[in-house]
């Protein structure tokens, strides 16, 4: 590739709005820039901030699809911006909006942390055990397949994409969301956690929990970690409905 070769011009249209400002109104701003090979939205948005609009707010941390900071709505679908290649859009036009269901901070930045903390506390997202563990002694044996099953559900990065994708969320602001139900499923599998089905029923056995899901599947369709959200929600629902 020669250095003279120019990339195509792309247009990135971003919703700008500062809810803390008395004068700011939601509006789209178009930024035109030259595409570079392998350009992701992380690269593009940083280019825009450094060269076109130093006031543009957005969130990135790892820029590698591991931390879950950069969820946003890209041409109508929620996705991780760091893993989104501009070349995946043949028209060269990307329209970016902040994720719904979360409190807007500014522009593309939303307060997922606040939402996730509340969810974590609500489902008591920690090991419940009355065993005293002596850490100088051998660890408890866990079957490797069970450890792996737990890991498979522990891979959620709390990006909020499932929440932003969720139809129930639009109707029930107190819905625990696919991420919360996945968390319950994760602790249900983990042998370290002594909670019973009845305990989990107490946490999520209502329409803001496991019975609120309408099985629209968008959570699983958009999950960047490919978690089996629908299967697990269906399994939990079958298990908990038997307790009613």
């Amino acid at each position: 590739m020669s250095n003279e070769q120019k990339g195509r011009e792309i247009t990135i249209s971003v919703l700008k709005f500062n809810p803390r400002s008395k004068v700011s109104k939601p509006h789209f701003v178009d930024y035109k820039l030259e595409e570079t090979p392998g350009m992701t939205l992380f690269i593009a948005l940083n280019y825009i901030r450094e060269n076109l609009d130093p006031d543009l707010s957005f969130d990135f941390v790892c820029r590698a699809g591991i931390c879950g900071s950069c969820g946003m709505v890209i041409n109508g679908k929620p996705a991780l911006a760091c893993r989104t290649l501009t070349s995946s859009y043949p028209e060269g036009k990307l329209k970016l909006m902040p994720m719904p269901a979360f409190e807007l901070i500014k522009d593309l930045s939303v307060n997922t942390g606040k939402w996730m903390d509340k969810m974590s506390k609500r489902v008591e997202s920690w090991i419940h055990s009355n065993k005293e563990v002596d850490i100088s002694k051998m660890e408890e044996r866990i079957d490797p397949d069970v450890a792996n099953d737990t890991f498979e559900l522990d891979r959620c990065i709390e990006c909020g994409i499932c929440v932003a994708s969720c139809g129930t969320m639009l109707m029930r602001p107190d819905f625990v969301g696919p991420v919360g139900l996945n968390r319950v499923a994760r602790f249900e599998v983990d042998p370290h956690d002594n909670r019973t089905s009845e305990d989990f029923y107490e946490l999520v056995g209502d329409d803001d929990g496991i019975f609120g899901c309408m099985s629209l599947m968008a959570c699983e369709d958009h999950c960047p970690k490919h978690l089996p959200l629908q299967n697990k929600i269906a399994y939990l629902r079958r298990k908990l409905v038997s307790l009613r």
Binding site: S21, P54, S57, R63, G113, K137, P144, D190
Partner: protein, 661 residues
């Protein structure tokens, strides 16, 4: 002025900070954690490969113990580490991992029976004993005698971080995210907390505490190419040195990881090579055995990184629009292994480069090049984690120079350090908070807040032609070009001078928006001068250290010089208007070492200028060991006689192992 009082203030919400906070909270202290981002997004989440702990459960780690882990760590450090701290660390690591298991971290476990593995590019069968089934397993990493790196597939940091963060929630630790500490509050040589900016509202608040612990991670983002998250800007280290009292230590000791993918700089874990992946050049030739016949791809990171660059300089690099690189080939591990144990690696290759690394042959090879990865240097502390000069200030994790890594860190020892230091330092920190009061007047607190308030106004009033983004990018280029893997005097001198000029230019900018909140350019404008101070400590430390040790490699001084340089670099910034740090050195005392300096076992031989004490101490050590062995003393008793170390809580208890007789 809003003042938030608490007993224990932790700045930084990654693994180290959260674990230290749990320690403080469990001792009944009101504990606040401040974090730039929701804590589960911390850079700790990005650690893929694993955590070293000498459990010795699996076949390939059988017989492992603290002594072997200690020796590997000291050699890995190129004798730059604090051996007492290394002992504290290796002894607590098995406890840390067992505690994490109880907190729900789903460690990969030993499965009885036979399985295939790739060792030295050859298919091998490993048989795990029935009596080890279900115990925590481990994989191979560079520079270790045994397979010691415990893992959960290649998402180890993620599972650990969620485990520790959940435990912090369980204990009601007060976690406040989107809060940035921009200045430490101190009086009469004692730290009392920080001036903190709320990143949503822009408001300045004071956080006042009996003790303050900085756990803000490393400073990789002062370099152009780095595997670090965008939040790893070294601000925690910067606010420590800006006190004019606390010191930063060994800042020139910067590790470059051999296998970030080109061009994005996203890390492909050392687990790739640990599990049997190999490096190939432009001809597809596996070149590492030519340079390091014994350890090959699994020599320590500094060695592999330098050999890669050396090979590229020898004309064997692969040309690309981003310069030369080499290939990482993991396809030889087989698709099944990759899709189970290296799934994130596969996804990174697929998404960012359009490559499936499980495809056999050149099609599946990933382009890799060494990039900045880890900061061995940081806030200088005692073994308890307290700053050597500023009372009440503690530091742990990558932000600290607790100094178990010396001049090169072994893979798997950093995630391990985060929780182990969180346990050890967290408890010493908590004890300090229990034993000391807050005695600072509110007027003094007000003075600190007002000064920061005025500083932000000053930044907004600048009316110059420079761009803070351009200054930042230029700093990153200088660090990459002149303070990189290979260093020499003239380039380092240039780097120091240019960085000083950039520091002057940070006052010649204009910030377009005058808003105090939601203004990313304003944030850059107060962060970049701090980053430049950190960068200057790195560059000047590297310029003045006329030897090669661990990751610090001078082409004009190629030998490790124990005779003159077996010491720690200490940087202070006594006067805020200074343009560079003041540097002093603290010697490492060979006569107190359990393992006096010697050859590391990899890299070129005969590259050491020896210190006369090395031989004297070695003779002492040998004599004592021989005598105690003859008297029937066990390895723990001998170790204690050679170099005693303390630990808080019951962490000094012996670690039980499946292989114990």
């Amino acid at each position: 002025m809003k003042v938030n009082y608490c007993d224990a203030l932790v700045i930084g919400g990654g693994l180290a900070g959260l674990r230290a906070a749990v320690a403080a909270q469990k001792k009944g202290l009101s504990t606040i954690v401040l974090s730039l981002v929701p804590v589960k997004r911390s850079h700790s989440a990005a650690a893929q490969g694993g955590m070293q702990a000498s459990l010795g459960n699996s076949k390939m780690s059988d017989g492992d113990n603290e002594d072997l882990h200690f020796a590997d760590t000291v050699k890995g450090s190129d004798w730059g580490c604090d051996q007492e701290v290394a002992r504290m660390f290796v002894h607590t690591a098995p406890k840390a991992i067992r505690e994490l298991a109880a907190w729900g971290v789903p460690w990969s476990r030993v499965k009885a029976g036979t399985r295939d593995a790739v060792i030295n590019a050859k298919k091998t069968t490993i048989t795990e004993d029935e009596d080890r089934h279900g115990l925590i397993t481990s994989r191979d990493f560079g520079g270790t005698k045994k397979w010691r790196t415990c893992y959960t597939a290649d998402a180890t940091g993620h599972t650990m971080l969620f485990g520790v963060a959940n435990e912090a929630l369980k204990h009601d630790v007060d976690i406040r995210d989107r809060k940035e500490a921009i200045r430490l509050i101190h009086e009469d040589g004692r730290c009392y907390g920080a001036v903190v900016r709320d990143l949503i509202t822009g408001e300045l608040e004071a956080y006042v505490a009996k003790g303050t612990c900085i756990a803000t991670g490393g400073y990789g983002r002062v370099f152009k190419q780095t595997t670090n998250a965008v939040i790893c800007e070294g601000i925690g280290a910067a606010i420590a040195i800006e006190t004019g009292i606390a010191t930063l230590s060994n800042m020139e000791a910067v590790q470059f990881h051999p296998t970030p993918i080109v061009p994005s700089g996203i890390l492909l874990t050392e687990g790739c090579r640990g599990d049997g992946g190999i490096l190939r050049d432009v001809d597809g030739h596996r070149f590492m055995p030519d340079y390091e016949p014994e350890k090959k791809e699994l020599a320590s990171r500094d060695v592999v990184s330098r050999r890669m660059i050396e090979h590229i300089r020898n004309g064997k690099g692969v040309p690309s629009p981003y310069g030369f690189h080499v290939w990482l080939d993991i396809s030889i591990l087989g698709r099944e292994h990759i899709e189970r144990n290296l799934r994130d690696v596969q996804e990174i290759c697929q998404i960012f480069n359009g490559i499936d690394p499980a495809d056999e042959g050149p099609k599946g090879w990933a382009p890799v090049l060494p990039m900045q990865h880890y900061s061995m240097g940081g806030i200088r502390t005692k073994p308890t984690g307290e700053s050597t000069r500023l009372k009440g200030l503690f530091a742990c994790g990558e932000a600290a120079c607790w100094d178990m890594h010396g001049f090169n860190r072994l893979g798997g020892n950093s995630v391990s350090e985060t929780v182990v230091a969180g346990m050890i330092i967290g408890n010493y920190f908590a004890d300090f908070c229990l034993e000391n009061d807050v005695t600072i007047p509110t007027a003094t607190i007000q003075k600190f807040v007002d000064a920061e308030d005025a500083y932000l106004d000053e930044i907004l009033s600048y009316n110059g032609s420079e761009s803070i983004f351009k200054i930042k990018n230029r700093m990153k280029e200088i660090m990459h070009d002149k303070v990189g893997i290979f260093r020499d005097g003239p380039h380092l001198e240039e780097a120091v001078e240019e960085l000083k000029e950039l520091l002057v230019k940070t006052k010649q900018i204009t910030v377009k928006s005058k808003e105090r909140a939601g203004n990313p350019e304003l944030e850059e404008a107060y962060r970049v001068p701090k980053m430049l101070k950190v960068a200057l400590c790195v560059a000047k430390g590297a310029r003045d250290r006329t030897e090669s040790r661990g990751a610090h490699s001078r082409e004009d001084y190629t030998k490790r010089d124990d005779a003159n340089w077996l010491n720690r670099t200490l940087c202070t910034w006594p006067n805020p208007t200074d343009l560079e740090p003041t540097i002093e050195y603290a010697p490492l005392d060979i006569m107190k070492m359990e393992m006096p300096p010697a050859f590391r076992g990899y890299g070129a031989k005969g590259m050491i200028i020896e210190h006369p004490d090395s031989a004297i101490r070695q003779a002492e050590v040998d004599e004592l060991r021989e005598k105690m062995e003859a008297d029937g003393k066990d390895r723990h008793e001998i170790q204690d006689a050679l170099m005693h170390f303390d630990l808080p809580m019951n962490y000094k208890e012996r670690n039980e192992r499946a292989g114990d007789k």
